[in-house]
Amino acid sequence: MALTVSREFTDPSAAELLPTVRQMCDDLLAPRAAAAEEAGEFPREVFRTLGAAGLLSLPFPEEHGGGGLPLHDYLQVIEELASAWASVGLGVSVHTLACFPLAIFGSAEQQQRWLPAMLGGELLGAYCLSEADAGSDAAALTTRAERTQGGYRVSGVKSWISHGGVADFYVAMVRTSDDGPKGISCLLLDADSPGLSARPPERKLGFSASPTAQMVFDDVPADGDRLIGQEGSGFGIALAALDGGRLGMAACAVGIAQAALDLAVRYAHERHQFGRAIADFQGLSFLLADMATQVAAARALYLTAARKRDRGEPFGVEAAMAKLFATDMAMRVTTDAVQVLGGAGYVKDYPAERYFREAKALQIVEGTNQIQRVVIGRGLRPS
């Protein structure tokens, strides 16, 4: 079901891209989502099609093959994709997260060497930060990169890796010294690096079509030029990447919530009880009104944060606010959408229960919503 959201873009080119994005949503994503989620099948070919259309590189500079779009416009494309199929919107955001360290912190030489292929649409990336004992406390990570002649050898296990096992490249935060957050470095590794392997995908509540797996680094060799930024700067790179990634999650959350709202509104006008459409009962129409208002508010919040980033201003606090508000909003709105559909909302014949399961994940990923509050709280200082 196509979104009917009226959109404003910073770059007029994005407005011209929108019809193609919506056509892809209608033809390519929405019709396949339910079956692929049920079967747990990762739609690799869908990402190739998106890549061929340039949708895997929208926010990156044109000189490296990117689309050169502001974050503000790119995120609205993510929202549209997520409304049709959340695993795809999430996947594009994860790919962007994985390209971000090289695009921002890589040397010109590194960027020329790898970025065009990473942005070319054929490759898909993954971002490896979390470990079993280093989740919210990411700086406690223990995956080690021992220095060798000319490079590193990496050993450890990374957890909760989206696209784990299906990605073509992995950007990994690894420990190069015991100096806490300052002992973390960022490496860019090919999927076929010797010793790099994925454990079987996690069995999840939702997002079943988007594989999440542990990645095992068993003495994986990495040349020295695989280091992005300086040794010891990895944690800062990771956090900077997450600021943008959190807006991606906010956009996904708004997309899922919009899809749930559209479904609930349609159902409430089709479903008749006591001789009239249930949408005509005030109790239900107020529920729909609250849902619509929350979706609109969350969209405004993430777009405000994005515009701040596009102006070059610090936006970490605003990104955390947007991620917190949008994903909590999506949880409430999808819960209410299930309620509007009643029994039909609880069965798998309608997507309401899938939206509900997907919303839950977004309150957890890329910093739990408790961590978002920590980030926001730290930003509150007397002026």
């Binding site: 080119s13 011209e16 891209l17 193609t20 259309a53 340039g54 929208l58 689309g67």
Partner: protein, 333 residues
């Protein structure tokens, strides 16, 4: 699938396929005759090209070895109401109400654009094969040209003129033919029908008017050594049909998977040239097109009646027989 190879068909003239004999076309809306000979087109190049013009053009582009220097393809596209939307007619003049639904590129025409681009890629790229998108339609129809350019075509031609409004298939084919004569491409590609009118006659009419062999319902197209070869999809499989260029090919949806415009393609399309032509530019007399010039006219129309209740057949052990009887009575089996 059973393949059937046909010997090279005698040329010039229609090769095969949806051949609508001239005499039938003349009977569509009127008993006037002589409308299909090109007399309505006054472009001075018409007569020459309509006789041996294509052969001369072909010879001029021949290079040693017999290959074409540059293969030029024109793809005809039509803007239609969204295929899934309810279509409406305008009660004032019984023509299509173009504001009643979103406008999109006729689906089959996107397959034709894609095929042109694939041929271009096979022939070595834009330097070896030029792809032009052609449409006839109101101002808004330029969007359909733009879509073709976004997909990768090099330039566009938009024939727009108030006098065109209400043109039927025959009148439209006269305009398209005049534009094609002007562009003189080696190959014309079209979708085999539009989702609004669904007459599926325009390819045949344009081929007839331009003196090109028509190769219809193509499921595969190859160009080599000045010859176009297609697999013509039939009820039982396909026929292989070939003709020398210049020729006209209409395609079916099995031929390929149209690409989505890429973001770069969308950006690039903004800078691609689109030539706007009027009837006067093409030397087409306004009197032979539009509502008044059309040979067919919609006298009246009525909304489709609401769907009647279906027949419920209770399965009492003989459900299969009853279903078969129903299908048999409807001549489905």
């Amino acid at each position: 699938m059973r393949g059937l190879r046909r010997d090279r068909c005698p040329l010039p003239g229609p090769v095969t396929g949806l051949t609508v004999p001239l005499s039938d076309l003349e009977m569509i809306g009127s008993n006037r005759s002589g409308r299909l000979t090109g007399e309505s087109v006054t472009d001075p190049s018409w007569d020459q090209q309509n006789t041996d013009g294509p052969a001369i053009a072909r010879a001029l582009r021949l290079v040693p070895g017999g290959a074409f220097a540059v293969v030029r393809i024109v793809v005809c596209v039509k803007q239609v109401p969204d295929s899934w939307a309810e279509k409406k007619l305008n009660p004032a003049d019984n023509t299509l109400d173009r504001d009643a639904a979103d406008a999109v590129v006729n689906e089959l025409d996107e397959f034709a654009v894609e095929e042109a681009l694939q041929i271009q890629e096979r022939l070595g790229g834009p330097d070896d094969c030029q792809v032009t998108v052609l449409t006839v339609g109101p101002e808004k129809a330029i969007e359909s040209v733009r879509k073709g350019l976004q997909m990768g075509a090099g330039d566009g031609v938009h024939v727009v003129d108030d006098a065109i409004h209400g043109s039927d298939a025959l009148a439209t084919s006269a305009i398209l033919a005049a534009a094609i004569e002007r562009l003189a491409p080696d190959l014309v590609l079209m979708g085999s029908e539009s989702t609004d009118a669904r007459m599926s006659v325009v390819p045949a009419m344009v081929a007839e008017r331009t003196g090109r062999p028509q190769l219809t319902f193509a499921g595969k197209v190859d160009i080599a050594d000045g010859t176009v070869t297609v697999q013509r999809v039939t009820d039982y499989g396909y026929d292989v049909v070939e003709a020398p260029l210049p020729a006209l090919v209409s395609v079916v949806e099995k031929i390929n998977e149209p690409r989505y415009p890429s973001f770069k393609g969308i950006m690039a399309a903004k800078k691609k040239p689109v030539e706007t032509l009027t009837l006067a530019d093409l030397g087409v007399e306004p009197a032979v097109v539009g509502l008044s010039g059309s040979w067919s006219a919609v006298q009246e129309f009525a909304a489709r009646p609401p769907r009647a209740a279906g027949t419920v057949v209770t399965d009492e052990g003989d459900g299969g027989t009853k279903a078969a009887d129903f299908l048999s009575a409807q001549k489905f089996i």
